[in-house]
């Protein structure tokens, strides 16, 4: 089931960062091929996705387990030990158990996915992830009839994660997806960035990436996956349900109570970087909109 989604302009080989940064991705021939004069028909998600630099991606993080500052994760995540690491899969599955991360990686097809990443705080990056489709892992686990949701849990280890000694959130961090969201081709379990192992501050050794949702849904340093039939609790929703909903789909039409979501700052532009308009579902409307048909996204945030 791997490789169900690719950037229209993908690099199938892992290339060094410098090459990534020097390459200017041109708009694909799709527009020309279909004779579209304007660019209206071209999905913005595929357009000129230049990944952010390694420094941007690894030095600007929200990972409150290491502190609430943007540079705290880079500064303090070195304390985290990521070997050995097991992921417990339980709940409504045929093959529950504790799976070693190395065994998981060996069994999965690791591919390269260049995704937009949009934080709820209205900043964004483009990240060249390496990982496997969550759907493939769920297939190994054997999802049972009647299952409706997938719940995730982050490591709880305050002796290595100093931010967990302060209740900025209710630890351990938890998140969840509806089953169809979890099975979507876009939904990635990332194990690396730029062909290298995930740095600790980015959620080593295994994290979720759901690019059409606000970044806090992409839970990091996963130790447990539970298949369930009830909507699972999610950390930011527990902290403030008025501001952070279960779905948290990127939506320029629905403001956060305290700030607008109509635009975002792309990281890497320096002091005079411009804001850019935020795209519905972070530009992945074609791939995900059908899952939300009939839902009032201004109410089910």
């Amino acid at each position: 089931m791997a490789n169900r989604w690719t950037n229209t302009l993908s690099q199938s080989d892992v290339t060094p960062e410098a090459a990534f940064l020097n390459r200017r991705q041109l708009i694909a021939g799709a527009a020309a091929g279909f004779g579209l004069a304007g660019v209206a028909g071209v999905s913005n998600a595929q357009e000129a996705l230049t990944p952010n630099s390694w420094e941007d991606i690894t030095q600007y993080n929200n990972f409150y387990e290491f502190g609430t500052g943007k540079t705290d994760p880079a500064e303090y995540a070195g304390a985290l030990t990521t070997t050995p690491w097991t992921v417990e899969i339980d709940g409504m599955v045929k093959n529950p158990g504790k799976y070693d991360i190395d065994d998981i990686k060996a069994a999965m097809t690791i591919e390269e996915r260049i995704y937009r990443f949009r934080c709820v705080e209205a900043w964004s990056m483009v990240v060249p992830w390496n990982g496997f489709e969550l759907a493939d892992l769920l297939e190994v686990a054997g999802v049972q009839e009647g299952a409706k949701y997938v719940a995730f849990e982050t490591l709880y280890r305050p002796e290595e994660m100093p931010g967990q000694r302060f209740q900025s959130l209710d630890w351990p961090y938890v998140e969840g997806l509806r089953l169809d969201e979890a099975m979507n081709p876009l939904t990635l379990m990332a194990t690396g960035i730029y062909g290298k192992d995930l740095p600790n501050q980015n959620g080593a050794p295994l994290r979720l990436v759901v690019p059409w949702k606000y970044g806090f849904k992409s839970i990091k340093s996963i130790v447990k996956i539970t298949i369930t039939d009830k909507e699972p609790p999610t950390s930011w929703n527990k902290a403030n349900a008025r501001e952070y909903g279960f779905y948290s789909n990127v939506n320029p039409n629905v403001s956060h109570p305290r700030w607008s979501q109509a635009s975002e700052r792309m990281i890497g532009g320096g002091l005079f970087a411009k804001r850019v308009p935020t795209l519905m579902f972070n530009g992945y409307e074609d791939e995900v909109a059908s899952m939300y048909e009939g839902m009032d996204l201004s109410k089910q945030i």
């Binding site: 609430t68 943007k70 700030w259 607008s260 109509a262 635009s263 700052r265 990281i267 002091l271």
Partner: protein
């Protein structure tokens, strides 16, 4: 304490302004060279805002310091206050020009986002204080000057609240600032009135 006060009397206020304004070119330099991290706009906004809040706190601490410790910094209170206003204005300028930039969104934010509304009110409240920070105003307004400048308490409280409201979830730093501000304000309550300091 007397020898410290004697030493401080020799320090000219223009020096306070100069030292107080050094962070401006410093922050701009850091922003351009990566010293403020990967997102320098919000970082710059934050540094300017935090410095403004610190200066407001120092300004509010001057009277209690004089009464409890005997340290006399009254001479510098005006320059500290004007510097605080300057940093609030710069903080606002960065938000207007570098952060939002889009006029229609600026106005929408001021009206619809509570933490921004509160920040704006705090700034507006400081304008008459900055404008009357001179000897001419003190003379002209007489007793009213002192009452007008009690708006400092309002500005401080609004600034502290603005900081708390912008944070995502519960964060320690804004709460600490608010605690300090509230204690400095509590000192002004009638029940805490102390005997006048020794002359």
């Amino acid at each position: 304490m007397d020898w410290i006060n004697q030493l401080l009397r020799k320090v000219p206020t223009w020096l306070v302004y100069i030292v107080g304004l050094i962070p401006v070119p410093l922050f701009l330099y850091l922003a351009q060279t990566g010293g403020l991290g990967r997102e320098p706009i919000k970082a710059l906004e934050h540094e300017l805002g935090e410095l403004a809040l610190k200066l407001i706190i120092v300004g509010l601490a001057i009277t209690p310091l004089r009464k409890f410790v005997g340290l006399n910094l009254i001479k510098f209170r005006r320059s500290i206050g004007v510097l605080a206003f300057t940093y609030v204005a710069l903080h606002l300028l960065v938000w207007l020009v570098l952060d939002v930039g889009i006029l229609s969104q600026i106005w929408a934010d001021i009206l619809k986002r509570p933490y921004i509304t509160i920040g704006m009110v705090g700034f507006v409240v400081m304008i008459p204080l900055a404008v009357t920070s001179n000897n001419w105003s003190v003379k002209r307004l007489g007793g009213k000057w002192r009452r007008l400048h009690q708006l400092t308490y309002v500005a401080a409280a609004l600034g502290g609240l603005h900081f708390i409201m912008i944070a995502k979830g519960i964060q320690l730093e804004p709460l600490i600032y608010m605690a300090v501000i509230l204690s400095l304000l509590a000192y002004r309550l009638p029940m805490f009135a102390r005997k006048p300091a020794r002359q």
